[in-house]
């Protein structure tokens, strides 16, 4: 239970569990089922698993057709390919008709590692977030990923579930209750609020420890649902702390940082610093090397927090 686990592994296990409970669950993959971990479902429910080959556009359209006929499809590949390669299919075949398709994309962000920039999706959240009807979830750890799979299946309509390749530290135990659209306050402080998603949540907690040692009390909020954004939680954090830092494994354009900036700009402007990929492509390397190079460690979050605090009026 308290072992570090990749969110894609949690997804694969949860999907097989869900498949046993709900005969309407069907799963599609595009020749990456060993990596996205849908193979587990495929072994248990071969009649409900469809490998569509290296043909992502068709996979998304087939998922739409399955949903139109009453099934609940989970379609998986790497995030660079869905939504990367299939934006129009997600928009027109799925979201426009509000079809009940779950796109669960793994290998999102820089921490794909050695495969390099061609396989490191840094803009997938921006793409799906701009599509009407779409719900966007970025779980922080294995337990939250597991619960997000069940929540996505319960929710009627298109969902994008963003999953990662590497093992990530445990944030939650089984007492956690994930709810779509609700932020989770992990730590309370009134000097600065760190709003994070995905693997950056555990780094935000480390940053808060560092800041506490310096006498800066940081709130840490896990914003696992990027859309619909928990605007109330953002505004409350801004009112309490007067300064906000966002942390995400995504381009600072279009992702969590943008979503939070939009909410703050409209409802309660306070100083904001956005930790994330600064509008660049990645490269080959170990996940830790990449996060360090692109300014996305706990130290970088702490540094951004100090800057945000210093800019408070």
């Amino acid at each position: 239970m308290s072992e570090p686990m990749a969110t894609r592994d949690a997804y694969g296990k949860a999907l097989a569990e869900l498949g046993a409970q709900n005969p309407n669950i069907v799963v599609l993959d595009a020749d990456l089922s060993k990596s996205t971990k849908t193979a587990l479902f495929g072994e248990r429910f071969p009649e409900r698993f469809f490998n569509m080959g290296i043909a992502e556009q068709n996979m998304i359209g087939v998922a739409a057709g399955l949903a139109a006929a009453g099934k609940i499809p989970f379609a998986s590949t790497f995030a660079v390919f869905a939504p990367g390669r299939v934006f129009d299919q997600i928009r027109n075949s799925i979201a426009y008709a509000d079809l009940n398709v779950k796109i669960a994309a793994s290998h999102a962000g820089l921490t794909v590692g050695a495969d390099g920039a061609s396989h490191q999706a840094v803009e997938d959240i921006a793409l799906v977030r701009a599509i009407p009807h779409m719900t966007v979830i970025v779980p922080a750890d294995g337990e939250q990923a597991r619960q997000a799979v069940f929540a996505a299946a319960q929710h009627h309509g298109p969902v994008y579930l963003r999953l990662g390749r590497p093992k990530v530290p445990v944030v939650y135990d089984q007492e956690h209750r994930f709810q779509i659209g609700r932020a989770d306050q992990l730590r309370t402080g009134d000097d600065v609020a760190i709003i994070a998603c995905g693997l950056m949540v555990s780094l935000a907690l480390q940053a808060a420890d560092q800041l506490a040692a310096e006498g800066i009390a940081a709130s840490v909020i896990n914003m696992a649902t990027i859309k619909p954004l928990d605007i109330g939680a953002v505004v409350r954090a801004a009112k309490t702390c007067g300064a906000v830092v966002t942390a995400e494994e995504h381009n600072i354009i279009g992702g969590l940082g943008s979503a939070v900036a939009e909410a703050l700009g409209e409802f309660y402007p306070v100083p904001l610093r956005r930790v994330g990929i600064q509008d660049q492509f990645g490269q080959s390397g170990e996940p830790d090397e990449l996060l360090a190079h692109y300014g996305m460690t706990a130290e970088h979050i702490a540094m951004a927090a100090r800057e945000a605090v210093a800019r408070k009026v």
Binding site: V26, E47, R48, F50, M52, G53, A55, Q57, N58, M59, I60, G61, V62, A63, A64, G65, L66, A67, A68, A69, G70, K71, P73, D88, Q89, R91, N92, S93, Y96, A97, D98
Partner: protein, 275 residues
């Protein structure tokens, strides 16, 4: 010609007149590729498909996906004639608040199974529906209508590969082979031919017919459904703008609506006003 065919021929002409009145009233739309596929739709909706207009969401119904979504006027007119909604709705096409959007919207229009319009996507959806029928052990059939220009989209061939791979014997696709696309003749813009050979090479059984011949459409469809070991492609040779002399085989009528005088002439050629 049997009495039934006479009725269906008359029905096709009524649908053509609707298409002219609808696009003229809208001031925009796609008459050419709507007129070319009328008999394909009449054959399906009035002879082949197991549907109930009073229950458009009946789970066991046959499905139809208009992958060439710009032929929406033909689909809407067919659905109205079949009783899915009143024919009085038809002239609201493309207007504010209408259930009849410029391209098919499954959420708004009773009987429309798939939201299409971005070309190349409908056959994938039809494959998904056919797979759902297999998973649920239901015997409904899935029909799709593709354009020839649309066959330039790569996704069509991904879907073709999948239909054959999964041996979808409950899937029949019609290809409206009218030989014209927006910018010119298909051979000049980007030739998708030889279509029959390509579909055969992708593992589909191919039947080539005159797409305006209601007798041939019925026979080939029934044979395709009876003998199917896998997906079936009915390559329907058609004429764009069929039935209106100045629209037939004319590139300019792909996406331009007739004005009032042109509409009057078209309606005269199509047998006059209905009411």
């Amino acid at each position: 010609m049997s009495a039934e065919e006479l009725t269906l021929t008359a029905r096709a002409q009524r649908i053509r007149r609707h298409i002219i009145r609808m696009t003229a009233a809208a001031g925009s739309g796609h008459p050419g590729g709507s007129l070319s596929c009328v008999e394909i739709l009449v054959n399906l909706y009035f002879r082949i498909m197991r549907i109930d207009p009073a229950r458009p969401d009946w789970p066991d119904r046959d499905r139809f996906v208009l992958s060439k979504g710009h032929a929406a006027p033909a689909l809407y007119a067919t659905l109205a004639e079949r009783g899915f909604f009143p024919t009085t709705q038809l002239t609201t096409l493309r207007k504010w608040g209408s259930m009849l959007q410029g391209h098919p919207d499954a959420k708004r229009t009773p009987g429309v199974e798939a939201s299409t319009g971005s070309l190349g996507q409908g056959l994938s959806m039809a494959v998904g529906m056919a797979l759902a029928g297999r998973v649920d052990k239901k015997d409904f059939r899935v029909f799709a209508l593709l354009g020839d220009g649309e066959s330039e989209e790569g996704q069509i061939w991904e879907a073709a590969m999948a239909g054959a791979h999964y041996r979808l014997s409950n899937l029949v696709a019609y290809l409206d082979f009218n030989r014209l696309q927006v910018d010119g003749r298909i051979e000049d813009v980007m030739s998708p031919t030889p279509l029959a050979d390509r579909w055969r090479a992708f593992g589909w059984a191919v039947h080539e017919i005159d797409g305006h011949d209601l007798t041939a459409l019925a026979q080939v469809t029934e044979r395709a459904l009876a003998e199917a070991q896998g997906p079936q492609l009915i390559l329907a040779h058609t004429k764009k703008g069929k039935g209106v002399s100045f629209m037939e085989d004319a590139i300019d009528w792909h996406g331009v609506a007739p004005n009032a005088e042109q509409a009057r002439q078209a309606l005269r050629e199509l047998g006059g006003e209905d009411e």
